[in-house]
Amino acid sequence: MVLPPNVSEADFSRALGEFRSAVGASWVFSSDEDVALYRDSYSIYWGEPEERVASAAVAPAKVEEVQQIVRVANRYGIPLYPISTGRNLTYGGSAPNMRGSVVVDLKRMNRILEVDEKRAFALVEPGVSYFDLYHYIQERNLKLMLDVPDPGWGSPMGNSLDHGAGYTLAAFRDHFSSHCGMEVVTPDGDVIRTGMGAVPNSDSWQDFHYGAGPNVDGLFAQSNFGIVTKMGFWLMPMPEAFLSGTVTAPRHRDLDALVQEVSYLEDLGLTGMPQYGSPIAQASFGPGAGAMASLMQNGWPSTEAVERFVTAQKLPAWSVQLYFYGPEETVRATWQATKRRFGKAIAGATFQDGEFLTLPIPREKEPTQSDKPRLGIPSLEVFNMVARNPQTADDPSDGHADLFVTIPRKASALWESSRILFEAHREAGMPARQNPFSTPFTYYSRCFWTGTTVPTWRDPAKNARSRALFQTVMDRCAEHGWVSYRTNPAFQDLLVSKYSFNNNSLLRFQEKLKDGIDPNGIIAPGRYGIWPAKMRKNRA
């Protein structure tokens, strides 16, 4: 049995009793067997003393029960760690940020409180998953499209509070940015509503997000200043049509011109998330594997060697898939304009028409529909990326941790960060998948993310190697000013240490807030490096 830090067994027992009074005995989990269900399945410390395991879990069904839990925690000094659906895999899952915390499992708070078709918003509780909200909309034939992340079994609330993102237009795929209004239980057990929700009888809580005065919503994302119990989201009106198309650029040095044209479309809101690719990199997973291995065998190749390689491969260096949403007339016109602009900017660019669909997708066609998330359909198909496959048949990993850094939309930053990742993998004795044709992710429209998924295991020796890789990549990328936007709890102290302008003044400011708002330090100690005063020595 794990106890919360500095809490006696007798006090913990009394607290559990009070939790049971608050939510009912069957919704307090304290046996070893039940608490084990709150382990992080993908823990990079699995089975080691540093693994972040819970002392118990409590599952309230309504906001008043959350308030009671917070008050009990304050009485006994028990750290709480709220989860919504607990499916934030690679970023901690349903496990707490600090060993010994009591997980507040909000899965039972699963009401879809309102979906307004005309004003295109939803108001939900934490335990509502993307699947739940999707089916609610579908069953009522509401003309609304969700922007869903991969995988889709997480919650709109949890995903947005960890700055998750999806695939459609930039206005919707930044999930925190597209939220509107929240309800929060504060660390003293009070309840606040933000934006227009603070106005009694307001009927525009999900229409206008600022209200008046300081906008505090950002304090409750990637943080520990309260437990969010309701949240509103702006949804996309169901477009009449969807059209995709692919552009290729022949030379390696064409990437900046390609990025510039793609960014033009992105910043005007004309395309969904662009999917950069490389036909040469794609070939290296098949018949071109030997050629790519040869290119990389002596380390990161010179620009000249890369360009010679492209010529020899007789394949375009780059591709980008673009996705258009709207009336048929406009999506077809946008694709035509795209061809004109890219053709002018990049000599030798080619164009391939993709899929044209009228929306919504008929229900019977959904199971075989490709690109589900780009059509607002939640799916778990992304797990194919990490499932046992012929290459890992004898030793599949037990999970993974995402290692991505934010870089500007520039070819030079992409290539240098890819080189750092490649060399760090080689030094760690791990397969290096990066090469000069590695492509960026564009979940957030104004920047690139580059990185990889690092395997995690139920084997301490292998996990130690994965952790060392994290440290190396995060240190080296930070020298260029490139850091992660989100990371596994095991690396949150390391990550925030990189945001060190003016002697870490940002973190020091957040700590002042923490001390004022949560003096007993009961909400998620250590989340994103914010420790209560009494625990600052815990910082890694």
Binding site: S94, S379, E381, G399
Partner: protein
């Protein structure tokens, strides 16, 4: 004595079969919600990285190499203990499932559904 035992067995089977039908129906609903998105039989042709199958089905196809069906609903060898262990402890990329997601009663229904064709 032999006849009494026979009647008891028949009565027991009858009760079991009736209860199992309800449980199997519930189990299928739970399976469709929580398991089928990875372990279902139908996938898009170009599903990412998946050899044409969903993640769980694809992984089991690689694991069993045709010796057992990759689609869980086609298996006739699954046991209650196997199913419960994998659901509650996770396995490789498949994470742990909590009781606030699939309750113990719902898990019993899933067991009933996935073992309905079990060879005796």
């Amino acid at each position: 004595m032999r006849q009494t035992l026979f009647l008891l067995l028949v009565a027991g089977l009858g009760h079991s079969a009736l209860a199992q039908t309800v449980s199997e129906t519930n189990g299928k609903a739970v399976f469709d919600k929580w398991c089928a998105p990875c372990h279902g039989a139908v996938a898009p042709k170009n599903v990412m990285f998946g050899n044409g199958a969903l993640a769980g089905t694809s992984a089991l196809a690689v694991k069993y190499k045709g010796k057992l069906p990759a689609v869980l609903e086609q298996r006739t060898d699954l046991t209650s203990a196997q199913i419960k262990t994998v659901v509650r402890r996770g396995l490789y990329g498949m994470p742990i499932t909590r009781k606030t997601e699939v309750s113990d009663a719902e898990l019993e229904d899933v067991v009933a559904y996935l073992t309905r064709n079990r060879k005796k």
